[in-house]
C-alpha cells in the first residue's frame, strides 16, 4: 500500500518565515539565510569537514561540504573545499566543476586555482599554468597550503622552462 501524504494545513507560519521562503523561491535569499546560518557557523562546520578529509574520511567530508554548498551556493570557499574532496574521491570532472564555480564567485580563491591548475596540467591543458600563477598571486605569503603548493609548482615549472631553453640551443648546435 502506498502511503498518501496529505497537506494538513493546520500549521500556521509567521510572516517573517513566509517572506524568507518567498525570498528563497525568488532566488533573493539562500537557504542558509532562511535558516539563519551565520558565516561563523558555516566556518565551524567547514573546519569539521577539513578534519574529516584530513583523516581520510572523505565520504563524510563530502556530505558536509555538499550540505554547505546547498545551503549557500555563493560560498566560494565551501565549493573549493568540496572540489578537493571530489578530487580525492577520484571524481575529477566534478572537482573541476566545483573549482570553476568557486572561481566564478571568488576569482582569487587559492585552493580552487591551485587544484584546478594541477588538474588542467594533468589533462594537458595550458590553462593550468595560468591558474597556478594566479594562485601564487592570490596568496603571495603562502597563507594556505594550496598557495604554498602553487609556489612550489611555479618553481618546478620555471625550472623545466629554463632547462628546455638550455637544451634547445644545444640541439640546434
Amino acid at each position: 500500500m502506498g502511503r498518501v501524504i496529505k497537506y494538513e494545513g493546520g500549521a500556521t507560519m509567521d510572516t517573517a518565515t513566509t517572506e524568507k521562503l518567498k525570498g528563497f523561491v525568488r532566488g533573493e535569499l539562500t537557504w542558509a539565510e532562511v535558516e539563519g546560518m551565520t558565516f561563523e557557523e558555516a566556518k565551524a562546520i567547514a573546519r569539521v569537514g577539513c578534519d574529516l578529509a584530513a583523516a581520510g574520511r572523505c565520504e563524510e567530508a563530502r556530505i558536509l561540504f555538499e550540505g554547505l554548498v546547498e545551503g549557500n551556493p555563493k560560498d566560494a570557499a565551501s565549493r573549493a573545499a568540496l572540489g578537493t574532496v571530489y578530487q580525492k574521491l577520484g571524481r575529477v570532472q566534478d572537482a573541476i566543476t566545483e573549482y570553476t564555480a568557486a572561481l566564478e564567485r571568488d576569482a582569487r580563491n587559492p585552493v580552487a586555482l591551485t587544484n584546478r591548475g594541477e588538474l588542467y596540467l594533468r589533462q594537458g591543458n595550458r590553462q593550468g599554468f595560468t591558474d597556478i600563477a594566479n594562485a601564487v598571486e592570490a596568496d603571495p605569503h603562502g597563507d594556505t597550503s594550496a598557495g604554498r603548493r602553487a609556489r612550489a609548482l611555479v618553481k618546478a615549472i620555471a625550472l623545466a622552462a629554463v632547462e628546455k631553453m638550455k637544451k634547445e640551443p644545444a640541439a640546434q648546435a
Binding site: 517572506e19 539565510e33 546560518m37 570557499a77 594541477e118 596540467l121 597550503s145 623545466a160
Partner: protein, 365 residues
C-alpha cells in the same frame, strides 16, 4: 641552478645514480605532480646531475615543498573581505525563524501587532528609515545614474557601502537591507497585496510612511517613551522634499510646503503629482475632521455638564448651538472629503481613458 640542486637533494641520493626516469616517475606520482611537471623535473635533473654531484649543499628543494603541501588538500580559504565571505549567510543579529529568533518570537513579524496589543519597537527604526529615504529620495533615485522615480535593493546595497552619502542615508539603507519584512512592506505599500518587484517608488515610500504613522498612532509601540524616534536628517541634495510630519498637519504652512515639494519633484509624472497633492490634501482634511470630532465631543460634554449642573436655559441654548455648529462643520468636512475622493477617482478614470485612447490610436495608426 640552486633549484636544480634542491630538487636533486630532495628526491634522494639515488638521483645521482640515475640511469633512467623510472625512479623520478615514481617520485613524481608519490608527490602527486602532474606528469608534465614530473617530466620537466626529470629532464632537468637528468641534465644537471653532474652539477648536483659537484654542488654539495642543497637548498630547500621544490620537491620537499611539494611533498609538504599535498595536492587536493582540503582547506576552507574564505575571502579576506568579510562582506564577500558573509555573502549568502545570515547576519549574526538576524537569526532564522526555526531557531527562536527575537524578531519572530511569538510568531509576530516586525511591524505587526504583538500579543500584548502594541507594535515592536523596531517599527520606530523603520519609520526613521522611511523619513530619511523620503527626504533623500532624489539622491537614491539618481544613484544608478538613471532618474526614473524609483530605486531598487541593489541601490540600497550600493548606498550602504558608499562613503559619498550621508551616514543617516547609509543607516536607513542598512536598516532596510537587514529587515526583509519591512522591505517587502515598503515594496507593496502603494498597492496593498501587490507583487513584490524589488522596486521602491516615491509613492511606496510615502504610502509606507503614512501607514506606519497610522499604525503607531493606533496601536502604540512597546517602550516608545524610552526610545524616542530621532529627528529626520536634513536633505543633502537639491530638489528633495521636506519630510512629512508624523501627525496630520492642520496648519497651512507645512501643507503648502509639502505641496510645493511635490510640485518641484522632477521624479514624479504629472499624474503622480496630482495624485500626491490630492493625497496630501486628503490627509490634511483627515486632521481637520479629527479635530472637529474632538471639538464636538468637548462641546457635547459641556452641554451634558450644564444639564446635570442645573444650568440656566441661555447657557444650554448656547451649548446646543455650539454642538450644532460643530456638527455642521463636520458634515461639511465629510462632504468635502467625499468630493475629494470622487475627484481622485474621476482623475484616475480620466487618466486611464486617456492612456487607452492613446493606445487605441496607436493601434489604428
Amino acid at each position: 641552478m640552486d633549484l636544480l640542486k634542491g630538487l636533486g637533494g630532495a628526491v634522494g641520493g639515488a638521483l645521482n645514480m640515475l640511469s633512467g626516469g623510472a625512479l623520478l616517475d615514481a617520485a613524481g606520482n608519490a608527490l602527486g605532480l602532474p606528469p608534465v611537471v614530473t617530466h620537466a623535473i626529470k629532464t632537468a635533473v637528468g641534465v644537471a646531475t653532474g652539477n648536483v654531484m659537484l654542488a654539495a649543499d642543497g637548498a630547500v628543494g621544490v620537491a620537499q615543498e611539494l611533498s609538504k603541501n599535498q595536492a587536493a588538500f582540503t582547506e576552507y580559504a574564505a575571502p579576506k573581505d568579510e562582506k564577500v565571505a558573509c555573502e549568502g549567510y545570515a547576519r549574526p543579529e538576524s537569526r532564522g525563524p526555526t531557531r527562536g529568533s527575537s524578531e519572530t518570537r511569538g510568531g509576530v513579524a516586525p511591524g505587526e501587532v504583538r500579543p500584548d496589543g502594541v507594535l515592536d519597537p523596531s517599527i520606530l527604526g523603520y519609520r526613521d528609515a522611511l523619513k530619511t529615504l523620503e527626504a533623500n529620495f532624489t539622491l537614491l533615485d539618481t544613484m544608478d545614474n538613471v532618474k526614473n522615480g524609483s530605486f531598487t535593493r541593489r541601490t540600497l546595497e550600493k548606498v550602504a557601502d558608499s562613503a559619498n552619502v550621508p551616514e543617516s542615508v547609509r543607516e536607513a539603507a542598512r536598516f532596510l537591507l537587514a529587515h526583509p519584512e519591512y522591505r517587502t512592506q515598503l515594496d507593496t505599500a502603494s498597492q496593498k497585496g501587490g507583487v513584490v518587484d524589488g522596486t521602491f517608488s516615491t509613492r511606496d515610500v510615502r504610502a509606507a510612511l503614512s501607514d506606519v504613522n497610522a499604525r503607531i498612532a493606533q496601536h502604540g509601540v512597546r517602550g516608545e517613551s524610552t526610545s524616542a524616534p530621532r529627528p529626520p536628517p536634513p536633505s543633502t541634495s537639491h530638489g528633495t522634499q521636506p519630510p512629512v510630519s508624523n501627525t496630520p498637519s492642520t496648519g497651512g504652512g507645512t501643507a503648502s510646503s509639502s505641496v510645493k515639494g511635490i510640485i518641484n519633484d522632477p521624479s514624479l509624472s504629472l499624474e503622480e503629482k496630482m495624485e500626491a497633492i490630492l493625497l496630501a490634501l486628503t490627509e490634511r482634511m483627515d486632521g481637520d475632521i479629527l479635530k472637529t470630532m474632538d471639538d464636538l465631543a468637548a462641546a457635547q460634554d459641556r452641554q451634558s455638564g450644564i444639564k446635570n449642573g442645573k444650568g440656566d436655559e441661555k447657557a444650554l441654548t448656547e451649548a446646543q448651538r455650539d454642538v450644532d455648529r460643530i456638527q455642521m462643520r463636520l458634515q461639511k468636512l465629510i462632504e468635502k472629503r467625499k468630493m475629494m475622493f470622487e475627484m481622485m477617482s474621476t482623475l484616475s478614470m480620466k487618466f486611464n481613458e486617456m492612456a487607452k485612447t492613446a493606445l487605441s490610436n496607436m493601434r489604428s495608426a
